[in-house]
């Protein structure tokens, strides 16, 4: 059924427009039957004493947040030190101090060396930063994806099924990482918001079969 028709039926069921027809009469009966069922639902009640402890619990979390921000200052200093050390180590490997740069013999060609060193450095850097800052899983996931060079923008354009297929196959068991990636960079409305559980199951089975 088209969206415009669905909208019209809702307007009819809620009394904003008047329409006639056997099909609509049936829609109304089914709608009213559902309302009756939903009215019988029991109310949710939080556990006893819940509201009394709500604000103190929240305040504790707020204090925790403040403390974690304060911890960032020494972490930043550590990260900076790590960066300086990494730079000095890396620099001394390319330009050994006992040889002037003009006499340097590189073990690899320029292109090869720059490719290897940047990948290793990025990985080291992301690990050092993650340790120094106590990054959460999401940030680590993003850092790791960055290292892997996955082109998220390109994947999104391929469509949701392709996107899922590629992510699942590329990341294998690292489901959480894939999730975090999708979550942080992509609009996953398209993936999950519009699909029912049955449709997702079907898609999942398709993916498992490939």
């Amino acid at each position: 059924m088209r969206k415009s028709k669905q909208k019209e039926i809702i307007d009819y069921l809620e009394g904003r427009i008047h329409l006639e027809g056997e099909r609509l009469k049936k829609e109304r009966q089914e709608f009213e039957a559902l309302q009756k069922i939903l009215k019988k639902e029991e109310d949710f009640q939080p556990p006893p004493g819940f509201w009394i402890s709500y604000l103190p619990h929240l305040r504790r979390r707020m204090e925790g947040e403040k403390r974690s921000h304060l911890r960032l200052v020494p972490a930043l200093a550590s990260a900076l030190s790590l960066l300086i050390i990494a730079f000095l180590l890396f620099h001394s490997q390319i330009f050994p101090p006992n040889l002037p740069p003009s006499n340097l013999k590189r073990p690899y060609g320029d292109r090869e060396l720059s490719g290897i060193s940047s990948a290793i450095d990025l990985e080291r850097l992301s690990t050092s930063l993650a340790q120094a800052f106590g990054l959460n899983d999401l940030e680590e996931g993003v850092a790791e994806l960055m290292v892997r060079g996955v082109d998220l923008g390109g994947l999104e354009e391929e469509g949701r099924e392709k996107l899922l297929r590629v992510l699942v196959s590329q990341l294998g068991d690292e489901a959480d990482l894939a999730l975090d990636l999708l979550y942080s960079d992509l609009d996953i409305d398209e993936v999950t918001g519009e699909l029912s559980v049955d449709e997702l199951t079907e898609l999942k089975n398709q993916l498992k079969g490939t």
């Binding site: 909208k7 069922i37 979550y183």
Partner: protein, 182 residues
Amino acid sequence: MEELSDSELVDLFRKGQERAFNLLVERHKEKIYYLALRMVRNHQDALDISQDTFLKAYKNLKNFKGESTFFTWLYRIACNLCLNFIKREKFRSFLSFGDLTKPLSRPKDSPDFSYERNQLSEAIDEAINHLPSQQRIAFILHHYEGLPHHKIAQLLGKKEGTIKANYFQAIKKLQKALKVYA
């Protein structure tokens, strides 16, 4: 201080009076908690989402421009957190190839507290848990929270027609899932 409006309390908080924020929490905690509870159908998750809502508000209140009321702003944060939670849970089940027929929220009501709901209420929980996130929020905000469709559209940044279509699809799925109780 209790008799002050939300916007006056926001101003006081910005001037450094922490107690003003406590009052804002006391004033709106139930509404935010029940919204989350209706969305995720699980006390512990609802508690986490409602507290995350206030934490986010606390951190960002200095940037609140006052283009809407404080409560609308807070409610929007809660809606977004609920949507994120549902998507995340559903996608987590999907990627881990877990059993998608089980309720999507974590089965982890605190050990000393769990709901004992009758069979019909549990069936309603399950039917709502199976709705895609956009249909679920369109249904919850209209049916339980009593918001008109155009307000929901405004809140979620969608077209009113889309919200009505989502609501329509939600009630069709609920009718199908709950027809044995009719």
